[in-house]
Every structure is written in structure tokens, then in C-alpha cells.
């Protein structure tokens, strides 16, 4: 036995200095890059008081932008929930050729610039394309109209739900589904009573992220929307227009709504994790 007994330290533990440095660095970084801009959005928005703030939001063009953003999210998010669940189901529960390729495809919107995503739709439905003029003869406008905005938003947001569900479903395997089937449940009952409840927290988390991105998307939407005030302007586009017109208070008022959405998303996510423990994003026991 040696005499130089030292106080036991967990091997994964670090010294006090290291801890303070790491935590401090993180906090400074967060304060500077996240907290400060967020606060400044609200400070700027309320610079001329509550009344001006309110007026900026109910102004017809701003109100139209808010409504359009909500509409687009209300269409894009459910579409991506359906697609995400179907894709995750197919990838996690079945064996087929080209599975790895499909996963890569799902990730595509993450890896290419949103502006390119928008341009793709301009090429597909523009006046120089085959599809665009043909649809126009039936009175269907895609570009510079709501359908184009929805398409671009769906494209940009479509990995969110699928990406959240695939690892979760792969991890859970097919044991529970087989059990349900062996007990006489139909495919639909199995999905509804067993598969869906098993992934519900992951799904909810994916929906939150998808929604946040759908409302906040700028690049892809700006290419296809045409930015017609009161008609095809979403909130992020409207913020930019107001800003370019030096209408700071109005710009930040609308921006504050988007920031608020981010905060609500964050709060909901934290609540989910608090309530259902660390497994909330994962959903296993």
C-alpha cells in the first residue's frame, strides 16, 4: 500500500479549471450568437411601443403573409408526416434493394442549397418548361402562386419526420408488430395500436422541427413565390421586404413572431423531454 493517497476522481471527470473553461466558453458563445440577437429582435420590435407593434402585424400585407405562412405549414407538415411515416416504415420494417439509396435520397434536401431546391421547381413549372404551360391551359398556376410555395416547402422539409423516425423504428425492430399480428390484429390495427404509439414522441418531435422549418423557410420559397405583396409573400419574405424598405419596426415585429415560434417549439420540446425523460426524442423504455 502506498502512502500518497489521492482523492478518488472519476476517470471521465475533468479538473475544475477545465470545467469552468468549457462551460464558460459555451455560455459566452450562446450569449453572443443566440441570446443577444434574439433579445435585439424583440427590443427592436417594441421600440415604438405596443400599439405600433400591433399595427405592424395587422397591416393587410403583413396579415396576408402570416395567413399564407400558416396555410403553407398546414399543408406541408401533414404531407410530410404521411410521407415520413410511410418512408420510415418501409425502410425500418422491410428488406428491399436500393434501401441505402432511398435513405440518401431522403437526405437530399439537407445537402443541397434551398435556392437550388426552388430553382428546380422553376425549371419544372416555369414558362419555358413542358409542365408549366400545359397546367396553365387548365388554369392551374404553380409558380408565383401558393402551390409552388407549398411544393418548395414540402421539398425542403421532407427529411425531418422521416429522419427522426427511421433510427427509432429500426431500433425497435418488428417484434411488437409480429406479436400484434399473431394475436389476430389486421395490418391497420397493428399500425394504429402498436407501431404509432411506439414512435409517437419521436413523431411529435419531428413534426415540431418540420413545422419550424416550414414556417421559417426563406431561400427555396423566395425563388418560387414571386414576392407579390399580399398574395405570395410569406412571413420571412415579408420581413426582408420591410427591412429593405427601412421599415425596421414592422420588419422586426413580424420577425418577432417567427422568433416566438422558435421559442414555443423549443419550450414544447423541452417539456416533452422533461415529461417523458431522456427517451422523449427516442421513445424507448
Amino acid at each position: 500500500m502506498s502512502d500518497n493517497r489521492r482523492t478518488f476522481r472519476n476517470p471521465a471527470d475533468e479538473s475544475l479549471v477545465t470545467k469552468i473553461l468549457l462551460v464558460g466558453l459555451t455560455l459566452v458563445f450562446l450569449a453572443f450568437f443566440l441570446f443577444l440577437p434574439l433579445v435585439s429582435v424583440f427590443v427592436e420590435a417594441f421600440r415604438e411601443g405596443w400599439v405600433t407593434y400591433e399595427e405592424a402585424l395587422v397591416e393587410p400585407d403583413a396579415w396576408a403573409a402570416i395567413q399564407l405562412t400558416l396555410t403553407v405549414a398546414a399543408i406541408a407538415v401533414p404531407l410530410n408526416v404521411i410521407f415520413g411515416v410511410a418512408a420510415a416504415w418501409a425502410i425500418a420494417k422491410f428488406e428491399f434493394k436500393g434501401k441505402a439509396f432511398l435513405i440518401t435520397l431522403i437526405d437530399l434536401p439537407f445537402s443541397i442549397s434551398p435556392v437550388i431546391s426552388g430553382l428546380v421547381y422553376v425549371l419544372l413549372f416555369g414558362s419555358a418548361s413542358v409542365l408549366g404551360p400545359w397546367l396553365k391551359t387548365y388554369g392551374i398556376e404553380i409558380l408565383f402562386a401558393v402551390p409552388g410555395i407549398v411544393l418548395a416547402t414540402v421539398f425542403v422539409t421532407f427529411p425531418f419526420v422521416a429522419r427522426e423516425l427511421i433510427p427509432l423504428m429500426q431500433d425497435q425492430g418488428t417484434g411488437d408488430e409480429e406479436a400484434a399480428l399473431s394475436l389476430g390484429a389486421s395490418g391497420w390495427q397493428t399500425f394504429w395500436y402498436v407501431t404509432l404509439p411506439n414512435v409517437k414522441w419521436g413523431l411529435l418531435y419531428g413534426v415540431l422541427l418540420c413545422n419550424a422549418r416550414a414556417m421559417g423557410e426563406f431561400g427555396a420559397v423566395s425563388v418560387v413565390s414571386g414576392r407579390i405583396r399580399g398574395l405570395t409573400n410569406t412571413m420571412p419574405l415579408h420581413v426582408e421586404i420591410l427591412y429593405n424598405e427601412y421599415n425596421m419596426v414592422a420588419a422586426f415585429a413580424v420577425a418577432s413572431l417567427l422568433a416566438l415560434l422558435a421559442l414555443v417549439t423549443l419550450a414544447l420540446k423541452t417539456l416533452l423531454e422533461l415529461r417523458f425523460g431522456a427517451g422523449a426524442a427516442g421513445g424507448r423504455h
Binding site: 409480429e178 406479436a179 400484434a180 389476430g184 390484429a185 390495427q189 395500436y193 423504455h285
Partner: protein, 345 residues
């Protein structure tokens, strides 16, 4: 329900997991599918359940050809290796699931389901735990909930995949006895998969020993232990040693010398024997080797003996020696099998 399996073949990506397997299971029998991993035992169980479909061959439930019936139509109770309990449902909801999902025409009313669930909980001795969730139960309790859930649909046969695999040794023993009683009480035709020979021999009416996608032997515990029909069964079940021998003029020769055993036909093959079927002897016609280790194993003492092999690696055999007279390490031991079997090369 009687089950007949006729010439089943199952391929996964051209790899034959089962190759021409036939088996008849009598009504009310308790059958163990025993084999090392990769022997195809779980595949066979899943084919019976309808969770997989055979590449070739037929499965009959009674007189009904069930080969292409879906798992829902087969009415089998399947207990999964890791139970596959629905984690977001209570014990009662888990057990009642099979009744709840029935089409409305044959679905019992809610009060009836409740009563059935409580009867089943009684049967598996878990009354009072209705409202617990699976993650609030011990392994043994989960196992019994899974069993009750499978029994709720009044299955025609009961299939269990490694039913005790995930439990600790003591609980495993208790549940094993309990399952035997449960089977005797309910009389269901039951098939379970295990890699644990002790479990199979103790529990089953008949043991189906499998290896590499084939059935090696089917028989009672006595059959497969005392009268193994293949080298695989002899070495897989229980302890055994084997030595290459020849038979000439009715005498068994090892390395050209008689060892005091006689056998009918002339042949060359492997002589198999168990450690307990051996006597130490002073006679000159016997096997002999050097004792390299001697260890106590529960109620017996086992000597490990190396038999010289003309400069090659020595043959290694294990022999039971009397408890009160341990052999000395390094000493020469002479012995002769009292029960043995020679399998042709």
C-alpha cells in the same frame, strides 16, 4: 391440435435454413426444438406460426393445410424471446389486446374481456398487477404476461421462442417447473425453442434435436441421451469423448491394439462414450493415458486424460473417477468404456 410438418424447406437468399424437415406433433404434446444457434430451430417455429412461409413443403393443423394461411388465420399463441409486450399498454390491455382487435361480430363485450383478462391473470398468478406497465415488471412476470396474452386468443397451439433465455438461473428453474404444470393443466399442444439441453430434457415430452437445418433425432429425454443416433447428438447432448477406432474380427482396435471391447461388423469409425460410462481397470486390454487434470463437478469427479498419438497432438478424453479415490496428476490411468457407440466414418 395435431400438427404435421411435411418435407419443409426454407431458404433465405438461397441459403437453406431448413432442409427437408418433417415432424409430427401429437395433440397435447410438449415438444422442445433443441439445437445450437443457426440450426434452424427458430425458423421452424416461425414457419409453424405463419410468421414466415416455407419455400417448399406443407404444414398441416389437424387435417387443414395451413401452409399458406396468414399468422392471423392460424390462431397460434406465440411467446416471443424478448416477450414483445406493448410498452405503452398496461398488463390488462396487453392481455386483452387479442380480444379487442377482433372484428366486431366476434368481439366479446367489454365486461367479458375484463373478466377473461382477470381469469388469465389468475392463471398466470399475477392478479393485482393489471394496471402495471411492462417496464414495471420483473423478467419472470413479463414472461407470464406474454404467456397470458398469447393464451387469451384461445390458441390452437402454443409456440414459445427461447422462453427462459432472458431470465436469471433461479427464476428460469422456477418458471420451467411452472410451465410444465401449466401445460399439464391446460393441455395445449406446445412447441418451444431452446439451446439449453437441460431445459429441453427436463421439460419436454419429446425433444427434437436439430443441426444445420436438419432434424438429427426426435425422441424422449431417455432416447436422445441414452441412445443418440448420430455423432452430433452424442456430442451435443451431455458430455462425451470420442476416439478413432477400427473393428476387425469382432474386436475394437485403437491404434491397432485391442482395448477389450467387441462389436459386430467390421468397420472404421469414431468410438463415442460418456465420462460416467467408464470403469478404471488394471487389465492390459484397455485405453490408457496420462492424467492432466482432475476436477470436482457437483456430485462427481472428472479426470482429464491425454492419450498419446504418435507424436501428433494427443487425444483428449474425460472420464469420471470415484469421488473417494481421486487419481494422481501425471499418473497413468487405464480405463474402458462400459457403454459406447461406434459411428462409421
Amino acid at each position: 391440435m395435431e400438427v404435421r410438418i411435411n418435407n419443409i424447406r426454407k431458404e433465405f437468399d438461397r441459403f437453406a435454413a431448413l432442409n427437408d424437415v418433417s415432424l409430427n406433433i401429437a395433440s397435447g404434446e410438449l415438444i422442445a426444438l433443441l439445437g445450437p444457434s443457426g440450426s434452424g430451430k427458430t425458423t421452424l417455429l416461425r414457419l409453424i406460426a405463419g410468421l414466415d412461409f416455407p419455400t417448399d413443403g406443407k404444414i398441416f393443423f389437424g387435417d387443414e393445410d395451413a401452409s399458406h394461411h396468414s399468422v392471423q388465420d392460424r390462431h397460434v399463441g406465440f411467446v416471443f424471446q424478448h416477450y414483445a409486450l406493448f410498452r405503452h399498454m398496461t398488463v390488462a390491455q396487453n392481455i386483452g389486446f387479442g380480444l379487442k382487435v377482433r372484428p366486431s361480430a366476434s368481439r366479446p363485450p367489454k365486461t367479458e374481456i375484463k373478466k377473461r383478462v382477470s381469469d388469465l391473470l389468475d392463471m398466470v398468478q399475477l392478479s393485482g398487477l393489471e394496471n402495471r406497465y411492462p417496464n414495471q415488471l420483473s423478467g419472470g412476470q413479463r414472461q407470464r404476461v406474454a404467456l397470458a396474452r398469447a393464451m387469451a386468443i384461445e390458441p390452437r397451439i402454443l409456440l414459445l421462442d427461447e422462453p427462459f433465455g432472458a431470465l436469471d438461473a433461479k427464476v428460469r428453474k422456477e418458471l420451467r417447473r411452472w410451465l410444465r404444470e401449466f401445460h399439464d393443466r391446460t393441455g395445449h399442444t406446445t412447441v418451444f425453442v431452446t439451446h439449453d439441453q437441460e431445459e429441453a430434457l427436463e421439460l419436454a415430452d419429446r425433444v427434437v434435436v436439430m443441426s444445420q437445418g436438419k432434424i438429427e433425432q426426435v425422441g424422449s429425454a431417455d432416447d436422445v441421451y441414452d441412445r443418440p443416433q448420430s455423432p452430433f447428438v452424442f456430442s451435443f447432448i451431455g458430455e462425451s469423448s470420442h476416439l478413432p477406432v477400427e473393428v476387425k474380427d469382432g474386436t475394437v482396435l485403437f491404434q491397432g491394439e485391442p482395448i477389450g471391447l467387441s462389436e459386430g461388423a467390421n468397420t472404421a469409425g469414431d468410438l463415442f462414450f460418456r465420462p460416467e460410462d467408464v470403469v478404471l481397470t488394471d487389465e492390459s486390454q484397455a485405453l490408457s493415458g496420462k492424467v492432466t487434470a482432475c476436477r470436482r463437478l457437483a456430485g462427481t469427479r472428472i479426470a482429464e486424460i491425454d492419450i498419446a498419438n504418435n507424436g501428433h497432438a494427443p487425444f483428449h478424453v474425460e472420464v469420471e473417477v470415484p469421488l473417494h479415490a481421486p487419481v494422481e496428476l501425471g499418473a497413468e490411468a487405464r480405463f474402458r468404456p462400459t457403454r459406447w457407440k461406434i459411428f462409421n466414418k
